[in-house]
Symmetry: C2
Subunit: 335 residues, 2 copies
Amino acid sequence: MKVSRAMIAKEAGVTPTTVTCVLNNTRPVSEKVRKKVMDAIDKLNYVPDIAARTMQGKGSKQICIMVDNIKNPFFAELVYSIEAEGIKKGYFFSICGKMDMKTYAAHIIARKIDAVYFCSEIQSDEVKYVRQLLDNGIKVLTSLKFKYYESEISHIDMATGDAIINAVKYLYGKGHRNIAFLNTFTENSNLDDRLPCYKKITEELGINATFSNPEKSLIANIENGERLFETLIAKDPEITAIIGINDLVAIGGIKRAKELGYGVPEDISFVGIDGIELSALITPPLTTYKSDASALGKEAFGILYNMIETSEVSSYNHRMEMIERESVRELRREG
Amino acid sequence: MKVSRAMIAKEAGVTPTTVTCVLNNTRPVSEKVRKKVMDAIDKLNYVPDIAARTMQGKGSKQICIMVDNIKNPFFAELVYSIEAEGIKKGYFFSICGKMDMKTYAAHIIARKIDAVYFCSEIQSDEVKYVRQLLDNGIKVLTSLKFKYYESEISHIDMATGDAIINAVKYLYGKGHRNIAFLNTFTENSNLDDRLPCYKKITEELGINATFSNPEKSLIANIENGERLFETLIAKDPEITAIIGINDLVAIGGIKRAKELGYGVPEDISFVGIDGIELSALITPPLTTYKSDASALGKEAFGILYNMIETSEVSSYNHRMEMIERESVRELRREG
DNA sequence: CTGTTAGCGCATTCAA
DNA sequence: TTGAATGCGCTAACAG
């Protein structure tokens, strides 16, 4: 049933070692022998066993992507892009969702996963599991704010904080002075730089900082955008513009705003972050700061690959590009 | 660095065999010894090596999900749901995208993946790789039309064909007689039952069958929906209603229709399939046949788990539920 | 250029 | 109730 290297050797009339060598190019092999081996492999449909190879400490050729919320199209595209890039180089990808890190860490270590890419935030009580991964020789790449073990971890700066700053400035330039932030993290969560950047820029501009402040950090999806909007607008009815922590949240906000009878952008302007396809399709089309998920995926795999092959830690600054659409109204200011 | 079973044994003052036995409950162990072993495991952060276990023919505890297009939120949610369900039972999930099946089959066999779930269609020239998986003892579950090796493969019937039939009937009931189908498969692709069902029901009702007929099968996404709509409406300007092969395609059609100056649903009505969140958010909200991706995921994992544990093949009929929104107009018919 | 051997970490005989 | 020995499929060090 299962065809192993020994059978290939027998079929080709050589020894198992020779088979290994032609497969891994680990030493010169005569053309004649190589051909015999290749023919045998073809004939028997032989596929080398990675589990056995992994046991030799050769790595598993497998990378794990941690994504809280693959339902967010931004992450879906990111995952898609990484996989497309990595499979070409012989890597296989696993995904992890929203279970506890302890479970995932055990799985990852048990499988000798070569590298882990954290697309989602890492909670402070999960830091120890990152340590555990590192201790097991597993490479780590983070995208979001993570201030530990920096010399051992690669990092992609998503520039979401900059996007917030630019969004506030942009809205300010359009005459808005009551610019709120639809935030999904707890105020002192420290896991994301968007809220701190929001606070900083509003202070600089000398305008009010109004932001949603959930009791515990929430998934940044449409549904939570709806709920948070409702709380936020109740807290401060004077708001004229809202920045969503991502497009999904902004879209949820718009949806609920319209349901509650607000005009968008007549009464309230909205800005998002990510630039997912959906942002162009809603009414009104959302002004947003677009992140090229596909390019990001390529870059991410490149870094992961490099870490695995050379153990080199690196960092990369990803850029966001503004897409101006119709969800923001220019405010005339009197005086 | 790497902590193995032997170290646990030493730490606990027992033999490796004993460690194995407490871990796998494979024979009685005294409470005292069990505790000592557990303490050692805890202390050293020991995680059993799955690669080694896999080599004993115990399976890899890993399942692979084949999805053409994880960017489709329906599949994203499906994957999310399967993973959430499976991780609880100790399974780990890999995803495969749009590379060639040959590559994926090799990866899957090499890793002794326990089971594969095909969410996407299987091309006829890929059938041989399914055979290869089966020959390697890998369990297979399909969702879409696949008429080979039926006794060895589990199947979830997604009832997409029924949805098409119901959609046509529904539109017919609303007075439409020029009901087109925005199709992404080639006409004789044989990979999907939606086009055949569409043809059948239009014939039964005695109305025209108009459908897009791409030269090669396309990903059913928004972009292709836009393009296909344009071709379709050029071919038959009399169309009053359009069914998308899924929501994304319908949404693409709506987008382009509006851009071209058609009123939706005033001039053209639209119906989708899948019931993704986005379908409720566009203007006008899309009438669609919703498939509960989350429930489907649970069911899918259940079947996969059962196949792995007991080798039992099974089949399941998934249901779709209509959600009536605002993308369909009732046509008054004269005479 | 090719063959022989040992060992990766574990499960599973068999023996005590 | 516990321990010792063998082998899974492969790589690598060592011979020829």
